[in-house]
Amino acid sequence: MSIVNAVIQGILLGGLYALFAAGLSLMFGVMRLVNLAHGAFAVLAAYGALLIVRTGALNPIAALLIIVPAMAVLGFVVQRFILQRTLGTSPLPALLVTFGLSIIIENTLLLTVTADQQRLNLGSFDTAAIALPGGIRIGAFPLAVFVFALVVLALLSLVLSRTQYGRLVRAVSDDPGTVQLNGADPKLIYGFAAAIAFGLVAVAGVASGVQTSFSPSSGSLFLIFAFEAVIIGGLGSLWGTMLGAVVLGIAQTVGAAIAPAQQILIGHLVFLVFLAFLPGGITRQKALR
């Protein structure tokens, strides 16, 4: 029974990881850029929420109304003024710059908010749970995050397949030069993609801050989890990413049930097994859907 419970908790955890992974996957799909500062920006958002919660009367959820737009703007600006300059045939400059950004963010946080573990508090919602037969308890907040992730991915997938912006995103990932010949500016398309990705990572960072504690150096693990979800799921597919995130979540929670405190290592190992035997991921799709 504890395994069933672990699987359920893992699926819910997968919702959180999907939020982390969607932004990474989107930015890679649009501009072939792997943002190594992805996790650091999530941590930044969590600290932003903490700041708002501490000063004002807002709870972490309400703080999202400020944090998400702020992070989206930040994403747009970072893309336009920094990342745009690194795009090209070689992935090296973009990797170096985003890795540099992650170090800058992490150490700036260390200087300003110390290395202490922090947590965002939601009061009674934190511990609220739905009791199922067999002693299984489904936390209200993880469930909400999972549902939210499903809704967000569905929306994003709808935007990509149905709207003009979505078509432009797919076109620009095929051939940016020709998109420009048709009167659209790839830089703007990239900028909005970065804004969406940063908005998503802000939600993920805050949600994670409610579920577990975080510190300035939590960013690397966030990045790694997002990456593992993307690769397990298969590049270029949003639903694959969701699936990959759920697989990773289950691997970790079941792993923790089997070998306490080893969940992260077990998650990595499951990722490596997928890499070895299913390198294309669960779904194999060329185009972003």
Binding site: A171, D175, T178, V179, Q180, L181, D185
Partner: protein
């Protein structure tokens, strides 16, 4: 309407076109001819903004557009159908056409009227563009450019790799496009084909204008086309 004077452009150190001047009037057509590597595509890319001009100017509707970026030029109506078609392979034909709506130009050309002009494209609208035949791709590329309601349509080697019958079909559409007041600047390697659609030709040789004018003599053209060795 499109006025180019003293235009040069380079790939790095290599100057590919030098001191080119030409004009195309609204509703008019001009064919640029020349051998492989003469600089025809380079000329069109420079006009469209994909390549920076090193000297000279491009004036369009009285305004200097030399410094504008490619998408800004497209929004003003300078639209290129690039060499090799360059469709978005993972999008459907219909989506390819929709992309050009981003130029935000209104005019006679809409999805419906373009499909009417190219029934072949209309039939294939649900297909992935990457799966089309060469002729279908070329028709789609022209259709896509029309959606932007171009004031000047730049066509780069429409006939490349296509059967003569298909080429004929595509060229048959040009008068219908010109009728709407659109100017066409087209690049063609096939001199006979170029002369059939346009009285006026502009011949490039190693990046320079070797001959330009109306109703030219075929012997003059072939000299200008192949350079000095043809006269020897």
């Amino acid at each position: 309407m499109l006025e180019i004077s003293g235009l040069s452009a380079a790939y790095g150190q290599l100057t590919a076109i030098r001191d080119i001047s030409l004009t195309v009037e609204s509703g008019g057509i001009l064919a640029v001819i020349g051998a492989n590597g003469a600089g025809k595509s380079t000329l069109l890319k420079t006009i469209a903004g994909q390549l920076k001009a090193t000297t000279g100017s491009i004036r369009f509707d009285g305004a200097d557009v030399t410094a504008l970026s490619t998408h800004e030029r497209a929004r003003r109506g300078i639209v290129l159908v690039p060499e090799g078609r360059r469709l978005f392979g993972s999008l459907t034909v219909h989506e390819n056409l929709q992309i050009a709506l981003s130029a935000k130009r209104s005019g006679v050309w809409s999805l419906e009227s373009v499909y009417e002009l190219f029934p072949l494209v209309a039939e294939r609208r649900r297909r992935r563009a990457g799966d089309l035949s060469g002729g279908e791709q070329q028709a789609t590329a022209i259709a896509r450019a029309l959606i932007a309601n171009p004031a000047v349509l730049l066509l780069d080697e429409v006939s490349l790799g296509l059967a003569p019958a298909i080429v004929g079909q595509l060229y048959d559409r040009l008068p219908l496009i010109l009728e709407q007041g659109t100017a066409i600047l087209l690049v063609e390697q096939d001199v006979a084909q170029a002369r059939r659609v346009s009285d006026e030709v502009h011949c490039l040789l190693q990046g320079r204008t070797s001959l330009a004018g109306k109703d030219l003599d075929l012997a003059d053209i072939s000299r200008a086309y192949f350079g000095a060795e043809a006269t020897a």
